[in-house]
């Protein structure tokens, strides 16, 4: 069934057991993002130390895609330096916009390749990107603060 390309087992697993979904109080930036068309919301706390993602945690409500995607993202970027994290983000964004034509670089994306099917469902791309956009925003805000 076409649906299975969207709801891969790993997505359902992350949905049932989201990683880092408990806000850690120490952070260099806290961001709150919403998806106005469906009302999904996410709060994300990020702690950067130098160029490194020292800690990342989140809370929010959303569909399986947004929850799983955020969970997978946190696992991917935790402990990475910003440059590598942004490379993953770029690869993931490209995958989402591929309209089902790409499968994603598994070395970079790891579990996130399971989200490849989302790219065939335009209405869901925003769900998959919600957490990632929050992460990007949090990095920029942290860097702004540190730059001050």
């Amino acid at each position: 069934m076409e649906l299975d390309s969207l709801y891969q087992q790993v997505i359902l697993d992350h949905y049932k057991n989201p990683q880092h979904k408990k806000l850690v109080n120490e952070y260099s930036a806290q961001v709150h993002h919403v998806n106005p068309s469906c009302g999904d919301e996410i709060t994300l706390n990020l702690k950067l130390v130098g160029e490194k993602v020292e800690s990342i945690s989140w809370d929010g409500v959303g569909c399986s895609i947004s929850q799983a995607s955020t969970s997978i993202m946190t696992e991917l970027v935790l402990g990475k330096d910003i440059k590598s994290a942004f490379a993953i983000l770029a690869e993931f964004t490209e995958l989402m916009q591929s309209k089902g034509l790409k499968s994603g670089d598994e070395d970079l994306l790891e579990d996130a390749v399971a989200l490849a099917g989302v790219s065939k469902f335009p209405a869901r791309i925003k769900c998959a990107l919600l957490g990632w956009m929050a992460f990007k925003d949090a990095v920029l805000q942290s860097q702004d603060k540190l730059g001050e």
Partner: protein, 417 residues
């Protein structure tokens, strides 16, 4: 089904039902609350306008301009007759959203000495079940004028809490703006009573009739309201056309909203005076083909009969409510009894996000809407992020409800809840 018409035959008039959907399924369209599908008759009317009569109305000295004006004004006549109004009280807008904003802006443009002007201390009354289109314009008007925005609460069953009515609608109240039927809950509000209360304190009553005019007979003078707004696209009409109806005494006295061609009486470089309504409120070359399409939509609906459509809607809703009551882990958000209730059923499934529900239903060709339905405060009131909403119309039948129910069961299985 005891309807006087057969949905399967109706569907033959609507080309989109020939479409093959995801999973190779046929289309079960349960999203008419967002927008309705269009019959061939409406599309033909629009096309005929473009192919045979297209010209700028009210302006040219030529045959096409005459014919275009006749077609456009003919559509106005149809709308007026449809809602029991005078023809000069019917204003074409692009949507109900524009209609509602137009009222708020026009009132806001009033001379401070006018009885239509709002000032600090005045009150605007809305409700927790309003669509954003009948909430934010009033928030903004309140902000601009210093008036206070107050609201009816919604009870657990999804009805307006009327116990506060006398409190809310008092001598300070200038405007009461309410929806006829909630687009989320299906609740139909007791408008005539509330309009009477509003008038007793000298307030204007604004009716958001987006979900009512397409579905059951609505008569402005029977309801006793002052303004009414609806969209053509929810009433099997084209996109890009809405109606603002206002009592002529108000339209005469009120300031215009959009300024430009065709709405003027005289113009100099420094000032302008206005044409009488409805022209005063229709600046620019109007959405002529869409008005004509709406006229054809009204013909189509009236041909079937609004009473028949209302009966049909009610039968489907009653049938569906009964089926929903037997689903475990599924909660209907809104009245469970079928009295004063429209053909909209919002529900949640324990453990599955509405977006995921919608996605699975889509795989069966079932089109529903998910999310907050532009009624975010109502979602907060019910403590939910959103709902899945099925809404019915004249092309739906019992089989569509059965398909929905079966697919909800499948969704639960798919997500193992």
């Amino acid at each position: 089904m005891s309807s006087k018409f057969t949905p399967a035959q109706i569907r033959n008039d609507f080309p989109i039902f020939a479409k093959v959907m995801r999973g190779n399924s046929r289309l079960t369209y349960l999203d008419s609350g967002a927008t309705s599908q269009k019959p061939r008759q409406v599309l033909d009317a629009e096309r005929n306008f473009y192919e045979n009569h297209n010209a700028a109305v009210h302006r040219g000295a030529h045959l096409l301009a005459e014919e275009a004006s006749e077609a456009y004004e003919g559509a106005r006549q149809k709308v007026a007759q449809f809602i029991g109004a005078d023809v000069d009280e019917v204003i074409f807008t692009k949507s109900a959203t524009e209609s509602l904003n137009a009222i708020a802006y026009s009132l806001g443009n009033s001379d401070p000495k006018s009885k239509y002007a709002l000032k600090p201390g005045d009150r605007i009354v809305v409700s927790e079940m309003e669509h954003h289109a009948n909430l934010i314009p009033w928030q903004q008007l309140a902000k601009r004028t210093g008036a206070e925005l107050v609201w009816f609460e919604v009870d657990a069953d999804g009805r307006l809490d009327l116990s506060s009515a006398a409190d809310l609608i008092n001598v300070r109240t200038k405007i009461v703006a309410l929806t006829h039927q909630s687009n989320v809950l299906g609740t139909i509000n007791p408008i005539a009573d509330l309009a009477e209360m509003a008038h007793k304190v000298g307030a204007l009553f604004v009716l958001d009739a987006c979900q009512s005019v397409p579905h059951f007979p609505v008569n402005v003078s029977q309801l006793g309201v002052d303004f009414l707004a609806f969209s053509g696209h929810k009433a099997i009409g084209p996109t890009g056309i809405g109606v603002l109806w206002g009592k002529s005494e108000h339209l005469e006295a009120m300031e215009p909203f959009l300024f430009g061609g065709s709405m003027i009486e005289t113009v100099t470089m420094t000032q302008a005076t206005w044409a009488p309504a409805p022209r005063k409120f229709e600046a620019g070359v109007p959405n002529m083909a869409q008005a004509v399409g709406l006229g054809a939509a009204i013909d189509y609906l009236q041909n079937i009969g609004m009473d028949s459509i209302a009966n049909h809607d009610s039968e489907l809703t009653g049938y569906a409510l009964e089926k929903f009551s037997r689903l475990s882990g599924v909660t209907v958000i809104g009245p469970k009894d079928n009295k004063d209730r429209g053909a909209v059923i919002s529900f949640t499934i324990d453990g599955i996000h509405p977006h995921d529900v919608g996605q699975v239903l889509d795989q069966y060709g079932i089109a529903v809407r998910t999310g907050h339905h532009c009624a975010w405060p109502l979602m907060r009131k019910f403590g939910i992020a959103g709902t899945t909403r099925a809404s019915f119309y004249l092309y739906n039948d019992f089989a569509d409800v059965d398909g929905l129910i079966a697919s909800i069961e499948d969704t639960k299985k798919y997500f193992k809840v």
